[in-house]
Amino acid sequence: MFQRWKESITPTDVVMWMIGGSLMLMVIWGSVATLAAGKYTGRHWIDFLIFGLAQGSIYALIATGYTMVYGVLKMINFAHGEVFMSGPFTAYFVADAMYRTDFLDTHPFIALAVVFIVAMAVSTMIAYFLEKIAYRPLRGAPRLIPLITAIGASFFLQYMFRGLYGSNFQAYPVFKIFEGSWMIFGIRILKFQVVVIVAAIVLMVALYSFIMLTRVGKAIRAVSEDKEASSLMGINVDAMVSTTFVIGGMAAGAAGVLYALMFKQVHFFMGFIPGIKAFTAAVLGGIGNIPGAMLGGIFLGLIESVGPSLFLDGLGIVAPYQLKDAIAFTMLVLVLIFRPTGIMGERLAVKKA
């Protein structure tokens, strides 16, 4: 490994490592300074961590969709953020109707299930037709073309939903039973955060076991290994690609409902930033790698929640929370530069780097 390094080292590498090193120094210095200043207590940090965990598990769910699609088609489904948005945005109207008729308060669990089902169905449908109409005719085209299509589809979907449902922020009805907090191991945790984390974990386990344990899951894995060979083995590649989009859409729709439970509002642009962050999470975990994407999502959520206070506050930066997204994007760029195979992924190194 060391020999290979010596051969291939170039001035640009040196510049890049300098950039990386100085950022690292900044982060360490900032953290030490923040901790030394003692502005935040342990309580604060725990709150940050739990919030980060909840947010991260949402990112993780979205990221599985990215990573699976990348696995089978080797393309970034740029419109995945819109798949994520479409579900809860549509389900908002159902939830609102149930709220008006008091059904939401009298039967909260049935209502929640209905919201989940509607959101997942819509997201799934959007993902399915997106693949069928926009991506399928372009398979085998030069790489830039599907990517541009995906960007176009992303904006088309965003503004289609804006046109259909209006451009207002819609306040999601509040589930009364998830208000307030529980004491768990002596820590006070907001109820909806617990719900989000638990639901996300359950869904991720379900998804992972589907991929690992069922025949269809096996077929999807085979397609992402080698399309030609798997089609020779009698696997219907097109159907598997569709299935992948369907599963990704379901996960995204569910993630969207969790997002709406957490931030209590939806609007047409809500998918864009979480979409990019979920992509970051997928890259962090090594794109194409499902457990990697899940861990990457949680990691990103934590960094984003803890990072501004920990790294930037100590450097005397005003209002560090405004730079939360900048931290996520910096992470994205850094991972793409220094470790494009991700924290857990090795497979792609051969294919792509």
């Binding site: 640009t12 109207f93 299509t149 904006f155 965003q158 259909l164 209002a319 405004q322």
Partner: protein
């Protein structure tokens, strides 16, 4: 797939697609807001035209997709398709009248139903919709059965008429502004839309012109190619001089509002040509391109605005700094992404663009960059003590910039570097094997693009007199990418056509503003599916794309998929 099914499935399938398309058009509010403008005064409104065009197009596609062997089967399929398409709208009206859809779909209002049924109530309205479906289907079938030449003439003359109606706000004031032409304006236009006589005149005139051209065009072309080299050159120089004259006189003919539109288009041409080098020539998809535009603007603002009080240079003193800093930042942001390709590059640059925007908007850099409130009081550029304040004069500044940038792009395209870029676009590994230094080639592309963008940003700052971080969102990047793609990647006239179509048109059609990104998105997808080389393709890129279609083919079996990209063309 049985024979019986395969006859009908094209009509039904296309009809469903068309139905969903018209439903979306109706429900996102396009029909309502476009209907405010008439194509022909009080006869044809723009929203209806859009629906009819969609229905006819779908019918035509259905006819084309149907296997050719039976005589009347195409006709029946077209009608089936159009009936299904209009059936979706009829269904919407039926449902919408009994259920209040408006609680969910903001545009499903009685106004929409009234527009769709042409004001008829009850069953008559539904019948009207279906009747229009049948008419659209028949028109589509007629177009299909017409000989190709006649079809082309019909389509082009009708679209010219529609174009003249849509662009009324561009053409009418220009005609009115000049005494004798006002008579012509009154003949063709009313206060909203064409007159009937005007519309007929346009159709007849264009059709006649087209017919003459089809009959005699070849001989005119051969006449031109048989001319001696000298006179061919004379004609070229003559048309060049005429073009230059038009460009110089343009803002004075067009008046204030249209000159403003022109300046905006010009800024986008500058941006587009810059990104064209990165995306079109070198094949690197940069989604953070707006960052350099922002850098150019902000450098100019910081250096010239007395509000912040650091420096108060003039525009011309600040311009070199803006461009040089833009180029430097292009190199700086280029270094980290040198090893990335395709999608990773796109996402990384998107990240850069967002980071810069977030930094500018934050309170952290507020003392230096003005935060969310931006920087105001940027002085106008002035030439020999004459301030370029009105759009008519700023136009010349932008025109000068565009000419410079077009010249550089043209020269670069055929240079050694340009060929290196294109080689890299086609295959990075092979290019490297051929001895192209990827590092310097890529960085130079980023630097040149960034320089153009910063130039555009500097002009933008002085034009507006203020800069706000909100002007530099990712949409600008998407906008620019879109105009390059629609125009044709790597093609300089393509960028200009793209900018005029995608930036100029929406500025002229204010109703359109809300649907801008919707249409952009649809245009990107449609272009990629149907015509990836763009409206005005660059020759080499076109060959490259089609080679790929015919040559390597698709390894995986796509039996179930429709060959959607094939029949179009015409």
């Amino acid at each position: 797939m049985t024979r019986a099914r395969s006859i009908w499935q094209h009509g039904v399938k296309t009809g469903i697609i068309g139905g969903v398309a018209v439903l979306i058009i109706a429900l996102v509010g396009m029909v309502q807001s476009f209907n405010k403008r008439d194509i022909i005064f009080e006869v044809v409104a723009m929203g209806h035209t859009l629906l009819v065009i969609t229905a006819v197009l779908m019918g035509y596609v259905a006819a084309k997709r149907t296997p050719r062997d039976d005589g009347l089967i195409q006709y029946v399929n077209t009608i089936v398709c159009s009936l299904i398409t209009s059936g979706f709208l009829a269904l919407l009206v039926v449902v919408g009248r009994s259920v209040n859809l408006r609680a969910v779909l903001v545009n499903a209002s009685p106004v929409l139903y009234k527009a769709l049924t042409l004001g008829f109530d009850g069953a008559a309205g539904i019948l009207i919709i279906l009747l229009f479906g049948v008419i659209c289907g028949s028109v589509a079938a007629l177009l299909y059965y017409l000989p190709p030449v006649v079809r082309r003439v019909t389509i082009i003359s009708l679209s010219a008429m529609i174009g003249a109606g849509v662009l009324q706000e561009l053409i009418r004031p220009v005609l009115l502004s000049w005494g004798p032409m006002a008579v012509i304006a009154d003949y063709f236009y009313t206060s909203n839309g064409l007159t009937i006589a005007g519309a007929v005149t346009i159709v007849v005139f264009i059709a006649a012109g087209m017919t003459v051209w089809t009959l005699r065009g070849e001989s005119i072309k051969s006449h031109y190619s048989h001319l001696s080299g000298g006179s061919q050159r004379g004609i070229k120089i003559g048309s060049f001089v005429a073009l230059a004259f038009v460009l110089i006189v343009l803002p004075h003919v067009l008046g204030l509002f249209l000159s403003e539109v022109l300046t905006i288009v010009g800024l986008y041409v500058l941006l587009g040509l810059g990104l064209n080098i990165v995306v079109g020539y070198a094949g690197m998809l940069d989604l953070g391109y707006v960052a350099f535009f922002a850098i150019g603007s902000y450098v100019t603002a910081v250096l010239t605005s007395p509000e912040l009080g650091f420096y108060s240079l003039t525009f011309w003193q600040a311009l070199p700094f803006a461009v040089v800093l833009g180029i430097l930042s292009g190199v700086l942001l280029g270094i980290p992404v040198l090893k990335m390709r395709g999608d990773y590059l796109a996402i990384a640059t998107l990240g850069f663009g967002e980071i810069i925007r977030i930094l500018v908007i934050s309170d952290f850099l507020r003392p230096w960059l003005g935060g969310a409130q931006g920087i105001k009081a940027i002085p106008k550029a002035s030439v020999f003590g004459f301030a370029l304040a009105q759009p008519q004069y700023i136009y010349y500044l932008i025109l000068a910039g565009c000419i410079l940038v077009v010249f550089i792009s043209l020269r670069l395209k055929d240079s050694r570097m340009g060929r290196a870029w294109m080689a890299m676009r086609e295959d990075e590994d092979v290019a490297q094997a051929m001895g192209i230094n990827l590092v310097s080639t890529k960085l130079l592309a980023f630097a040149t693009g960034a320089g153009f963008s910063a130039l555009s940003g500097a002009i933008f700052a002085s034009k507006l007199g203020s800069v706000y971080p909100h002007s530099f969102s990712v949409f600008i990047s998407i906008n620019i990418i879109c105009l390059i793609i629609v125009g044709g990647m790597g093609s300089i006239p393509g960028v200009i056509v793209g900018a005029a179509a995608l930036v100029g048109l929406p500025e002229l059609l204010r109703e359109f503003a809300d649907f801008r990104l919707l249409v952009y998105g649809a245009a990107l997808v449609a272009m990629m599916l149907l015509r990836p080389e763009g409206l005005w393709p660059e020759v080499r890129h076109k060959i490259e794309l089609h080679e790929d279609e015919n040559g390597s083919g698709q390894p995986e079996d796509l039996s179930a998929a429709e060959p959607a990209s094939q029949p179009q063309g015409g």
